[in-house]
């Protein structure tokens, strides 16, 4: 048997907090763009100023989604924030629906 190395990754959503520059790098976004979403409440980092910001792992998916919506649908920052809020709500409602007993 050959000794085979398997790469060990970290689960972003559970094991990682991202700095501003890491988040920018990971989604290819500019700092100003991320800044604008923080101001709009789309992303909620911990920390008082941008150098100290730590983004929870789920911010990666959220930022990438925001970036796609902003670019592909030409939606402005407030529009992205609204779209993400509504998408969250739809996801929560769908999850609730699945837990209900099926209607006969």
């Amino acid at each position: 048997m050959s000794t085979h190395t398997y790469l060990q990754g970290l689960v972003v959503e559970e094991e990682i907090h991202l700095s501003l520059s890491e988040l920018c790098q990971a989604c290819r976004a500019r700092e100003e763009q991320i800044n604008a979403w923080v101001m709009e409440g789309v992303l909620e980092p911990v920390g008082d100023n941008p150098q100290d910001w730590r983004f929870a792992g789920h911010s990666l998916r959220r930022a990438r989604l925001a970036l796609r919506l902003a670019h592909d649908l030409e939606v402005n920052t407030a529009g992205v924030a609204l779209a993400l809020d509504l998408m969250d709500e739809i996801a929560a409602l769908k999850a609730q629906l699945r837990r209900l007993p099926a209607r006969v």
Partner: protein, 330 residues
Amino acid sequence: MKFKDYYETLGLQRTATQDEVKQAYRKLARKFHPDVSKETDAEARFKEVGEAYEVLKDPEKRAAYDRVGADSRGGWKGGQDFQPPPGWDEGFEFSGPGTWGSPESGVGEGQFGANPSDFFEALFGQHARQARAQRRTAQARGQDHHAKILIELEDAYKGARRSIGLHFPVVDEQGRVTTQERTLDVTIPKGIREGQHLRLTGQGEAGGPDGKPGDLYLEIGFKPHPLFHVDGGDVYLDLPVAPWEAALGATVNAPTPEGSVKLNIPAGTVAGRKLRLKGKGIPGKTPGDLYVTLAITLPPAQTEAAREAYRAMAKGFDFNPRTHLEGASS
């Protein structure tokens, strides 16, 4: 290579104004954007719409495209075999950098940006290649890559080691993009959920001579499972039960991704009842639950004995399932 009619893709006349181009794109983008669309072929349609807009929104590219499209024999039609005539772009100057695949655009990246069509590459590829080549030299650290992989649900329950084939774009010094394949041996951690990402440090794009490589982010998805449906940490199973099991109660075997379990069906169970097996979903700090939806299945009445059993039931019950409908129709 087939000619692509970008006007047709956006449902526009060739005389459309730039505002009309924008309006048509936005409407179609909202309809087909894979993040918000319910259409089945959303991803492919969105890619076509995006490519058409990439050309038509830019007056320089649009003019060049119009010149190719407006052939003296009456113009090209979408789907016709096409080769760009030599020197077609002579006299056209493209000012801004091509946005396809640029860091700001988000296009050419991620899950559904993928690569432009051959047709787009043939017309505007050189221009985009220059933009990419310029970017490449300026950057020291390699870019982070993203890829989506599909794993078995069982791997999330137990953890696993998997070899995964990945296709990834490589930009050479001339800015040409080619797709390469590599196999990555990855440990799938126990408890991973759909939509979560694994970060593999240093497995992204190679850096410049003095730069570090980028990271690779793998977005996890589950392969469709014949029995189970997954939502976050929760797992759903439809379990058929016989009418008498539902009526009288029973202990039956139910499959779970970890193996079979004994399940108590309470007496008086109605169709569609959901039983929750707490903590039997995907493991984790907060383990998910396994929901079992009971489906009452009638045995077929194909033999005389079976028909006799149904007749005995009919006699044994004073049962009309439609009492609540009576009086509703006069």
